[in-house]
């Protein structure tokens, strides 16, 4: 598997890119040229210069610094959402697929109901219910999406649970939890890895959308969606303000989508053409 990973240029490239972005976000306080919150009205809308490599916004804040600091909420919250979604979805899916019976019945009925609401509206409903805040945005996104993963993972588990090696394991008296953790989890890990990377891209868009509408990360915090919200107000006078955060979102989401496809190739031996 590791060998196939290193051979796949897209997989290596995208993972490298994501790690690099994450590092930039973590190291933002040391590498950002300016304070992302320092407003300086005299220097507003400046173009690129040595002091402000990407120029300044409507309050004279350094765009590059805001972009770098913005990685933290943008990527961080998306990864948090992904972990939550996959965690809850995998747990429910594993339980349903493995134990069957009434456990499965209850979980799958809940999943059905969850899937019968359009996710877009549910996010807003949950945010409306819980109130506008960052945690609630993550919660809302986990809440609406876990059912998809539960269903997919259950299907995956159903395919594996009747495979011979699992049946054998049960025959020789291995404890159930051990089978679950040791055999089933690795078997569906491939599916999970692919889902996870696609899901981060999706979460980035969704969270930034909420921030853009003012329902997520709030104004002075340099989240990319919130930055676009501020840029919207000066669309007529300074349209270039919306270019940088937008391009950053598209690039990051594209990379995650590419990574998902590449990981699928790496992890699914059937797909590989020698």
């Amino acid at each position: 598997m590791a060998q196939r990973f290193w051979k796949n240029k897209t997989a290596v490239g995208t993972v490298f890119f994501v790690v690099l972005i994450a590092l930039l976000g973590i190291l933002a306080p040391w590498i950002a040229p300016n304070d992302p919150y320092a407003a300086d009205i005299l220097h507003k809308y400046e173009s690129m210069s040595a002091q402000f490599p990407l120029g300044t916004d409507h309050l004279g804040r350094c765009l590059l610094s805001r972009l770098l600091y913005g990685i933290r909420p943008t990527l961080g919250l998306a990864i948090l959402t992904m972990l939550g979604t996959i965690g809850l979805g995998a747990l429910m899916g594993l339980l349903a697929g493995y134990f069957r019976g009434w456990v499965e019945e209850i979980i799958m009925r809940v999943v059905d109901v969850m899937l019968s609401f359009p996710s877009q509206v549910m996010v807003f409903a949950v945010v409306a219910l819980l109130g506008v805040s960052v945690q609630n945005v993550v919660l809302a996104n986990v809440f609406i999406k876990w059912a998809w993963y539960a269903r997919m993972i259950r299907t995956g588990v159903m395919q594996y649970r009747d495979k011979n090696f699992i049946q054998f394991s049960r025959c020789i008296g291995t404890p159930e939890w051990f089978i679950l953790a040791r055999h089933l989890l690795p078997s569906i890990a491939a599916d999970l890895a692919v889902l996870a990377s696609l899901d981060v891209g999706w979460a980035i868009i969704n969270i930034s959308t909420l921030s853009f509408l003012g329902l997520g990360v709030q104004a002075p915090t340099p989240e990319w969606g919130a930055m676009l919200n501020e840029a919207k107000n000066v669309l007529t006078s300074n349209p270039s303000q919306m270019v940088i955060p937008g391009v950053a979102i598209v690039a990051l989401v594209s990379v995650f989508n590419l990574m998902g496809d590449a990981l699928r190739d790496v992890l699914d031996p059937k797909e590989v053409v020698e």
């Binding site: 059905d112 109901v113 019968s116 609401f117 359009p118 877009q120 509206v121 549910m122 807003f124 409903a125 945010v127 409306a128 219910l129 109130g131 506008v132 891209g201 868009i205 930034s208 959308t209 853009f212 509408l213 003012g214 329902l215 969606g225 676009l228 840029a231 919207k232 669309l235 007529t236 349209p239 919306m242 937008g246 979102i249 598209v250 690039a251 989401v253 594209s254 989508n257």
Partner: protein, 313 residues
């Protein structure tokens, strides 16, 4: 056949009940007391225990939970969704009715765009697989799936409306106002369906019936349009139909970008104003639409596919 349709329709009733129940529970989950919220929203200066009790009685909040659910459900069936917290002189139903046409107009226009653009493009991509057109389209599809709709909206607004001054930036009312929001809403669906139709056609091309059509010497045009396209459209039209409620709910964001006076704008302003009855009714409406459209297109698929259509009955 009739029996199947009947069964399928019946099977949606429990789902509709669950959805309505969830919506009802939703409003009861609000951390603050609805009566108190209503009072505060009406800007009653001093909120006393008596005032709360009065409003509770007025809104029927002092009755048992299930009784309230049933009476609420019957009210909903009669088209009465309660009164707006923010503006007690307005009914929720009235507010929805005011905003619904604009949203339907936007969703309808987007649907037309989706069908008009995705089917021919997907078709051409499959026919000229790996050609220049296909490669360009695939790159575009890839990029558009990574673009947040609100950003697309902003870009279009800036380029078309401000830079080129071709169309109005925001607001509603005329056909010119409709174009940009509709295109923005449809863009992500267009890319999804281009991919779906392309892959579906490529899958169909591998089928035996295509080989046999070739063996019989049928012209390529006939094979592509009459056989392959029709077989792939079959799956795709159902998928597109089932996504209509998503399209309607997908207008939330775009409506807010373009200040389109529809349900989405209403919904977001209600969230800011904590006008819960409106949000509740909106979620209920979309949930019901979702179920109804799923049912409708599921039945349509059954009726239009000779393999699924049962004989005789």
């Amino acid at each position: 056949m009739k029996q199947y349709v009947f069964k399928r329709i019946l099977s949606t009733i429990p789902l509709l009940l669950i959805i309505s129940f969830v919506c009802f529970v939703f409003i009861n989950l609000i951390p603050s007391n609805p009566a108190e919220v209503a009072l505060r929203v009406r800007q009653v200066p001093i909120i006393t225990e008596e005032a709360i009790a009065e409003v509770e009685a007025e809104l029927g909040l002092n009755r048992p939970f299930l009784v309230r659910y049933v009476s609420w459900l019957f009210d909903c069936l009669k088209g009465d969704f309660g009164i707006s917290y923010v503006n007690p002189s307005r009914t929720v139903a009235g507010e929805l009715a005011r905003c619904l046409p604009a949203t339907l107009q936007l969703a309808g226009a987007s649907l037309v765009l989706v069908i008009l653009l995705s089917i021919p493009i997907g078709f051409l991509c499959a026919v000229y697989k790996d050609g220049i057109f296909d490669q360009v389209m695939r790159a575009l599809v890839f990029i558009t799936t990574a673009m947040p709709p609100y950003w697309v909206g902003l870009l279009l607004m800036w380029f078309i409306s401000i830079k080129l001054d071709l169309l109005p930036t925001s607001g509603g009312g005329s056909f010119a106002h409709l174009i940009l929001p509709a295109f923005t809403v449809s863009l992500s669906y267009i890319s999804t369906y281009i991919r779906l139709i392309r892959n579906n056609m490529l899958e169909n091309m591998k089928q035996d019936y295509v080989l046999y059509a070739n063996v019989r010497g049928l012209p390529q045009k006939v094979i592509l349009v009459k056989h392959i396209l029709k077989n792939s459209m079959h799956t795709c039209i159902v998928a597109i139909g089932m996504s209509i409620p998503q399209l309607i709910s997908g207008t939330i964001v775009v409506e807010n970008v373009f200040a389109w006076p529809g349900l989405g704008t209403l919904c977001i302003s209600s969230i800011f104003n904590r006008d819960y009855p409106i949000i509740q009714a909106y979620v209920l409406l979309i949930g019901v639409l979702f179920v109804v459209f799923n049912l409708l297109f599921d039945l349509l698929q059954t009726v239009s596919d000779p393999r699924l259509r049962k004989e005789g009955a």
